[in-house]
Amino acid sequence: MANVRIEGVTKSFGEVEALRRVDLEIPDGEFLVLLGPSGCGKSTLMRIIVGLETATSGDVFIGNQLVNDLPPRERDIAMVFQDYALYPHLKVYDNLAFPLKTKKIASDEISKRIERVARMFELTSLLDRKPRQLSGGQQQRVALARAVVRDPVVFLMDEPLSNLDAKLRSAARDELKRLQRNVGVTTIFVTHDQVEALGMGDRIAVMDVGSVCQIGTPEQVYSYPANTFVATFLGTPPMNLIYCPEHILGFRPEHFQPKVLYGPEEDLAEFQYRVHRVEYLGNQRIVYGTLEGTMANMSGSDLVMSSLPDSVTYGRTLSDGKSYEFGVRREDLRFFDNDTEQGIESPSSGV
C-alpha cells in the first residue's frame, strides 16, 4: 500500500496539451475519484500514473518513490479497464494467474490465492470458462478479481462500471466501495458519472480541459464548487447561474423553492419567477422558468430551474405561464467572479 503524488505533470500530444501542470496528492488508503467530461485528460492522467504513457514533464511518486522511468511492470499497480480487457484466449483461472506468473510466484501459492479471490468474487464455478462465455457482470468480477489477486499497492479503475446495465451498476458500486474499504488499498477511480463520483469517492478531483479544477469531499465539491464549471458539471439539473453586473450568482435548483414553503424567520433572497413548464419525473418535479423584475434576462439564454420533491404538494399547484414568488436561503447562494468564473466570498453588495 502506498500514497500517490503527482507534481506538475504536463502531457502534450503534438500541439494538443492533454494535461496542464497537474498536482495531486492521494494519501494511502484513500478512494479518489477523477471526475470530468470525456476529453478532459482523466484517462491520460491515469495512464501516466500506471506507466502506459510518459509525462512530457513533471513527476509521479508512488510510496514516495519517483517512478517516472519505471515501466508498468515495476510499479506494482493493478488496473481495471473499462472493457475489462480480459485475455480472450485464457480461461478465467489463467486470467487470474497471469499477473501472478509474471511475478514468478510458486504455482501452489498461485492456486491458493486464486481460490481465495474466486470465493470472494463468486467465480469458483466459472474458473474453467473462457471470457466470451461469461456475462458482462461476470466479466467485470473477473477483471476486479484479477486486480485484487495481485495484492498491488494501488488500484486504478478506468470507468469499470460503465458497461454494466443500470441495475447491476448500483449494486456493483456498493460492492466495489465495500471491497476497497476491506482491502484498504489506495484507489484511483476514473469516471464521467457524477453519481458514481459522489457516491463512492472519499474525495473527488474534478477535471476540465487538462487541469484539476477542484479537489475535495463530495460535499465540498457539490456545495462549494470552485468555479462555474464544477457548479454546472455536478448536479442534475445543474446549478442556476445568474449573470449580475458585479458577479455571477449561483444557486442549486433544489434550493430555489416557492417562498411560501419557508418559515417567516428565514433570511431569503427573493425572486419573482415566471413558470414556463413543469416536468414531472415521478419522485420530483423540475420547473423551468425565467426571473422577472431587476433580474430579468440575466440568466443568459438558459432557463432558471427549480426542483421540487414530489412530497412538496405545493408543486402540484404551479401552472404554466403564471408568476410566483420564489426564494433561496442566503446561505445557499454562491458567487463567482465575472471574468475568471472562479468562486468568491459572498460580496457585501447584496441581492
Binding site: M79, L86, Y87, P88, T102
Partner: protein
C-alpha cells in the same frame, strides 16, 4: 383487362431479377464455366491420363491402353520421384518456417514508430509485389558461381577464402537451401502483413493489461500476441504452403531441378516428364499425386476460416 395482362417484357425480366436464385446463378455462371473448362476438364483429363500409357507421340493417332495404377507403382520405385516428393515437403515447410520467423520480426518492426517508416514498408513489401521471374533472376545473379554478391561480400568481410567459395546452385547440399531462402524471401512480407493485421485486431487494452500485469516483451509476444494471432496466421500459412507446394517458377528459373535432380519438386518433375520428355501418362501421375495432399490443406484452410467467423 387487369394490370397482369399488360406486363411488358422488360417488366417480366425485372421480376426475374427479383428472384435471388436467378441472380445468383447469373453472376456465378461465368466463374463456374471458367473453372469447369480450365480446371475441371484438365484435372479429370490428368487423372484419366495417369491410368494409361499415353505418350506425346501417340496423340491423335494411336489409342492409349488402360494400365491401372502401374504408373504410380513405377513412380514409387523411382528414387528421383521419391527425392522430389521429399523436396516438395521440405521446401514448402522449411520456407514457411523461415517466412513465419522473418514475418513476425517484420510485423514487430512495423508496429514500432520510427522515421522513414513508409519508405521501409514499401521496400519490405517489394519481394511480394515483384513479378516472380524478375525476383528470381536477381537471386540467380546473387547465387552466380563467379559473380555472386553474397560470396564477394563474405570474402570482403574475411569470412571466405578463395578455396572454400560456395557454389550455391551447383552444390547438392547448398542448392536446396538456396531455394528455400528464395521461397521464404518471396512469402515473408505477406506473412508479416498478415501478422501485423492480426495484431492490430487485438484490443489495445488487452496489451496494456498485460503490461500492467507485469509482462515483459517476450511474455507479451509468446503468451498474448502470438496465441491471439495464431488462428489468422494459420490461414495465411496454409495459403503460403499451398503456394510453395505448387510453385515451379522459382526452381525452374534457378536450377531446373539440378544439380543431379536434388532440387526437383513434384511440379517440376511432372513438367519435365510430361511435357519436355513427352511421357504424358507419367507426368500426369506425378501431378495427380499432389491432389490428396493439397485437398487436406484446403480443408484445413477452410476449417481455419470458419473458426474465425
Amino acid at each position: 383487362m387487369s394490370a397482369n395482362t399488360r406486363i411488358t417484357r422488360s417488366a417480366r425480366f425485372a421480376r426475374l431479377l427479383d428472384r435471388p436464385g436467378f441472380v445468383a446463378g447469373m453472376f456465378l455462371s461465368p466463374a463456374v464455366l471458367y473453372m469447369l473448362l480450365l480446371l475441371g476438364v484438365p484435372f479429370v483429363g490428368a487423372i484419366a491420363f495417369s491410368l494409361t500409357d499415353i505418350t506425346i507421340g501417340m496423340l491423335f493417332h494411336t489409342m492409349p491402353s488402360f494400365v491401372g495404377l502401374e504408373n504410380f507403382a513405377s513412380l514409387l520405385d523411382d528414387p528421383d520421384f521419391r527425392q522430389a516428393l521429399r523436396n516438395t515437403f521440405v521446401f514448402a515447410i522449411g520456407s514457411q518456417m523461415v517466412a513465419v520467423i522473418l514475418g513476425n520480426i517484420l510485423a514487430q518492426i512495423l508496429m514500432a514508430e520510427f522515421r522513414f517508416k513508409t519508405l521501409f514498408r514499401i521496400l519490405v513489401l517489394l519481394p511480394w509485389a515483384t513479378p516472380i521471374a524478375l525476383g528470381v533472376l536477381g537471386w540467380k545473379w546473387m547465387y552466380d558461381s563467379i559473380y555472386s554478391i553474397i560470396n564477394w561480400n563474405l570474402r570482403f568481410l574475411g569470412l571466405l577464402t578463395d578455396g572454400n567459395w560456395p557454389i550455391w546452385l551447383g552444390n547438392p547440399d547448398l542448392a536446396p537451401l538456396a531455394i528455400i531462402l528464395v521461397h521464404a524471401w518471396k512469402s515473408f512480407p505477406f506473412v508479416g502483413v498478415i501478422i501485423l493485421a492480426a495484431n492490430t485486431s487485438i484490443p489495445r487494452n488487452v496489451i496494456d493489461a498485460a503490461k500492467v500485469d507485469g509482462a515483459g516483451f517476450f511474455r507479451q509476444l509468446f503468451q498474448i500476441n502470438l496465441p491471439l494471432v495464431l488462428p489468422i496466421v494459420t490461414v495465411g500459412l496454409v495459403f503460403g504452403t499451398v503456394f510453395a507446394f505448387t510453385d515451379m517458377s522459382v526452381i525452374w528459373l534457378l536450377t531446373r531441378g539440378g544439380p543431379i535432380n536434388v532440387t526437383h519438386v513434384l511440379a517440376t518433375l511432372a513438367y519435365q516428364n510430361g511435357i519436355l520428355a513427352g511421357d504424358i501418362a507419367r507426368g500426369s501421375a506425378i501431378s495427380v499425386f499432389l491432389v490428396p495432399i493439397l485437398g487436406l490443406l484446403v480443408v484445413m484452410a477452410l476449417r481455419g476460416i470458419r473458426r474465425r467467423v
